[in-house]
Symmetry: C2
Subunit: 311 residues, 2 copies
């Protein structure tokens, strides 16, 4: 694919998070030495919609083809800290039968251990920002660097942070606009098993909007103007779920940046595009299918989602 062209209304978006080298085993196959990390998936998904900036850290071992993948998508990597002496964050995971959960087999934090998301001066006025599921303290650090109070901030999280750094997370929620969380994490964070009540409770914790992701069962949007629910795109070639949620969140922030709107109608469309991008991600290891699919495939799935939900 060539570097995408964006509409005039498009505003830039910023993705902050992990960039990794992964080894993934599923019940059916495995793949080694592949591009991983939340910011990788999210920035490629976002790049379909709006000019995308990435902040993360990699080591001197980070493969050139991975950098090339970012530039093919027109992603601005000025904020990607390359530590020549260090090694890239490594994650190895194994999915259980039927993809019901996964085990982390190995983690080498490497350069990610001391990662501090420092925004290049130019990035500090980015109007649409996604905070990947890094430690809440680091998410705060990003928000602190944003100039003015006008950026629209999406944050993701992770069950580990809910369990270990709950206070930081609680303080973060009122500082963001859109909280993206999965079903299990929402139950953990709110103590509420009814997802509708959980979503409402999360909004009361600070963010104006909440998106609750349910994997193969789709997702729910809690917005000040109303509620929205969308099924998952019907995937039949399910290869690897890694990065699905990151692709989802990246497409979401990217679409909002592309229309520069955050009303309910815009959020609904953003959630549909997010659903389309996540469905591509799970059809291959790493970002392969998400990246090769191209905007045309994303658009086709969006249209299909429209048809399969309208009555």
């Amino acid at each position: 694919m060539s570097v995408p062209k964006y509409s005039k209304a498009s505003r830039p978006c910023l993705i902050v998070g992990s960039v990794a080298i992964d080894r993934v085993a599923t019940p059916f196959a495995q793949s080694d030495n592949i591009l991983g990390g939340a910011a990788s998936y999210a920035s490629i998904a976002a790049s379909y919609f709006a000019p995308t900036r990435i902040v993360g850290a990699v080591g001197g071992d980070f493969p050139k083809p991975f950098l090339k993948r970012f530039s093919k998508h027109g992603i601005d990597t000025t904020g990607l800290q390359i530590e020549r002496e260090g090694k890239t964050f490594f994650w190895s995971g194994k999915y259980h039968e039927n993809f019901a959960g996964r085990d982390t087999l190995e983690i080498q934090l490497n350069v990610f251990e001391k990662f501090s998301p420092t925004l290049p001066a130019l990035y500090r006025e980015t109007p649409y920002v996604m905070l990947g599921a890094i430690q809440p303290a680091l998410q705060h650090h990003v928000v602190d660097q944003l100039k003015g109070k006008n950026a629209f901030i999406l944050a993701d999280t992770f069950d580990l942070w809910i369990k270990t750094t709950r206070e930081d997370l609680d303080r973060l929620l009122p500082r963001i606009d859109l909280f993206v969380i999965n079903e299990d994490e929402s139950k953990l964070l709110t103590g509420e098993t009814n997802l509708i009540l959980a979503g409402r409770k999360l909004r009361k914790m600070g963010p104006r909007m909440v998106v609750l992701k349910k994997g193969e069962h789709g997702s729910l949007l809690f917005h000040p103007e109303g509620f929205f629910a969308i099924p998952a795109y019907p995937v039949t070639k399910f290869v690897d779920p890694t990065g699905a949620g990151d692709s989802y969140a990246g497409a979401l922030i990217g679409y909002l940046a592309s229309v520069n709107r955050t009303d309910l109608a815009a959020l609904k469309k953003a959630v549909a595009y997010a659903t389309a991008c996540a469905s591509l991600t799970v059809e291959s290891f790493s970002v392969n299918r998400l990246s090769s699919g191209g905007r045309a495939t994303v658009n086709a799935r969006y249209k299909e989602l429209e048809q399969m939900t309208r009555f």
Copy 2:
């Protein structure tokens, strides 16, 4: 409510299944001596849309107010076998925490033990028929009595029949038009964990159409003309799930009878009305909320579903 009035296009529908007296315990409350049984829920839901006939069996102990409930809904009970000497089928169940499964505490089959669904002569030409989850042999017996081959037949089933009378069930599937099944049953019957593949596989087993119910995650429709997915109605006052699936199926067949069409557009709307009716059922014990809600509430929820899914 008064006996409903139906549009001129409406055709009658027939509901065959259990009529019971239930005792239900949930993690929050319990209720005893209440109207239960698949045919009770289904016929009340169907009655919102089309003239509804019921076939089932009860004993001399069947409370008058329960019969009155049927007649208030304009349900034709000519086919309800009342065995003065016998006792009504009794079911007692207890739901686990968070409604994750349930235990049957007691079953007294009573008149249901020798129940044979004999259709009154007038019922044999009913154009829309729902076979509740009774034994497949009895479902066959109903189909055998239908005159001509033009009736549209919906069938439900139950994990027990999949495990114990699989052959009868396999022979039934090619005889019906629409198979309604829940997520776990679909996995059990097809051995397929991907619900999209499971739905397609079920269609290959005979029925032209399949609806796969996922409880709080909504439902999926597999139709020769295309695929459709709808979320559940966002229920926050969840009291008792008993009968939700039966109400769903009853509304489905009732709506199809009311428009006398079975194309994809009609099925989508039927599934949305089914979703609305099921959401009422879970908000109370027994048929109370489903019955008291009335068509106006069903319509309001249908409209809400339209708004919360359109983008």
